[in-house]
Structures are given as C-alpha cells and as structure tokens.
Amino acid sequence: MAVASEAPFHVLAVDDSLIDRKLIERLLKTSSFQVTTVESGSKALEFLGLREDLERPSSATSCQHEIEVNLVITDYCMPEMSGYDLLKKIKESSAFKDIPVVIMSSENVPARINRCLEEGAEEFLLKPVKLSDMNKLRPHILKGKSKEDQQRSNSNNTIDFSTINSGSRNNKRKANEEGLSPERTRPRFSNNSTNSLTVL
C-alpha cells in the first residue's frame, strides 16, 4: 500500500501537434507526473482500452493496456476527433467517466469553454500552457480519488471482498509490480530569475 501511494500520478496527454506534445510532456514531468502522450482522440481511447465497439475494456487487452490513468489532458482543436468529442466519449463510458479531463485551447471562446465544462471537463487551460498551470491538475485528481475511496468504503460494507477481482485498483497494483513507476528525479531549475539567460 505504501508503494501505491508514493507512485506519481499518470497523465494521458492528447495533442495533434508534435511541439505541443513535447512541451506538455516536459511540463508534466517537471511537475512530477508520469506521462503518456498520444496524437489523437482515437489513440487516447485505444490507450485507455476503450474501443468504439466496446463499453468496457476488453479482457483480451486488459493485461497490457490497463495502466491506470489519473487524468486526461487534451487539446480542443484536433482533426477527426476533437477534444470535446473525446471528453464526451470518456464521460459516456462507465469504466472511465470518473477520470478527470482537462481541455487546452489556443482560443478563448466562452461558448466553447462552457460547452466543455457542461460536458464534465474539470478545467479549461489557455494555450500556450505554463508551468504554473500544472499546479491546477493535482487537486482534480485528488478530488476524484477521495470520492473513489469513499465509494469503496461504502461498498465494502455490502460486498464480499473475495468476489472483487477486476477494476482499476488491482490493475494499478499490477502496473506497479511490473515496474512501471518512472524515474522520480526532480529537475533543478536555474536559481536565476526568469530574465537571466543561464541555461543549465
């Protein structure tokens, strides 16, 4: 249990721009998250183990693919499947609807922002994303986790433990056992102010 609580949170980042994927990956890693980046909504669903034709993760892929994702952060404007479409699909799935989703967009369109928030997005970040924006993510993950813990402790009173043999909790433990925790090195920033030009 101690190991599970120390493992960093895993964020799935979705963006069709290679530069933005590189950036968000660095931003997240610098903020001590474990990161997986994908280039499209369909790849994101595939990673989650959620295929178009199935509502739940298929048992065939469950061994490889059920690495717990604690948060999805996605660009809004993407070809084929937009961030909004991806958000909808996640919220409509019984398996993943509780995963917090954050939307990023380079355009400040109130109607777009409201639409996403109404559909269940936790937060809307304006691009280009800053390091300080990463601090907004952890609260959403923790909020979800405490809700999950509460639900589990409620169900513990009514369900026999021995019948529980699936679900994200077991898979998280499995993922840790398989040695999937990433490097935890904390990067050191330059001590100089942001106006300084010393590059490490």
Partner: protein
C-alpha cells in the same frame, strides 16, 4: 582568460535576447522553454526549436504552393496550415511570427489572394529573421558553454 571569455559571451547572449524581446520577436514563453531544460532533458530547447523549423518550413512551402493558382486557391486549407503555424509559434514564444499569422489568416478568410501573397511575403521574411537570430543565439550559447567548461 577563458573564464573572462565566458562572461563576454553571456553578455552577448543577454544583449541578443533583450533585443529580440524588445522587438517583440520573442516573448516569455521562449524563456519557459529554457526553464524546462535540465539534466534529464539537456537538449530540450534545441530539439523543440529544430522541430519548429522543420514543421514551419513545410507549412510555408505548402501555403506558397496553394497560392500558385489564383483561380482555385483553397483558402480553407491555408487557414488550417496557418492555425498550425500560429499554435506552434505561440508555444515556443515566437510572438512576431504568430502575430503575422493572425493578419494572414484574416486575408485568407476574405479570400483575398493579393492580400495573402503580401502576407506570405511578410511571414517568410519574419520567419527568416527569427531563424537567423535563433541560430546566432545557439552559436553564442554553445561557445559560452565551451568557455565555461574549459575554465
């Protein structure tokens, strides 16, 4: 002696960066790139900038090709390419290039062919300027690094 040399290069880099900031060529998001570079990712800035150059030049070529035929210019596609260039420019702090894209996008939305050609010329000019200055910056940075390691 080499130690003093490193200081001089650092001054040159400061001066160049200050100029680029003053001209509005770069903004604070470029500094964030530097903040994200560390021992675990020592080449982050040059990697990202290289990708930016490669992608931007491809986009600029594509846009120029689309404008070749006045009669059947696909303005919508130009808009898509411009959005991509705007996004990546904004992400790396290339403020001026991004702003030129905004003006260009307006011309494409009005299906203004002559306006698009003019905008493309400005865009190519500003992109070249940015590329040259960034190359200069990296040259100075690498010389500075060598001086520092030698002292």
């Amino acid at each position: 002696m080499l130690g003093m040399g490193a200081g001089r290069w650092e001054e040159d880099m400061s001066r160049l960066l200050a100029l680029l900031f003053h001209q509005g060529v770069l903004d604070e998001h470029f500094m964030q790139l530097q903040q994200l570079q560390d021992e675990s990712s020592p080449n982050f800035v040059s990697e990202v900038i290289s990708i930016y150059f490669r992608e931007s030049e491809k986009l600029l070529r594509n846009i120029r090709t689309l404008l070749l035929d006045r009669e059947c210019t696909d303005y919508k596609k130009i808009g898509v390419y411009l959005n991509h260039l705007m996004g990546s420019s904004s992400s790396i702090g290339a403020n001026l290039v991004r702003n030129v894209c905004v003006a260009f996008r307006a011309a494409s939305e009005h299906c203004n062919w002559a306006g698009c050609l003019r905008s493309l010329a400005v865009l190519e000019h500003e992109y070249c300027y940015l590329k040259n200055k960034l190359h200069e910056l990296f040259q100075v940075y690498y010389i500075q690094t060598i001086c520092m390691h030698s002292s």
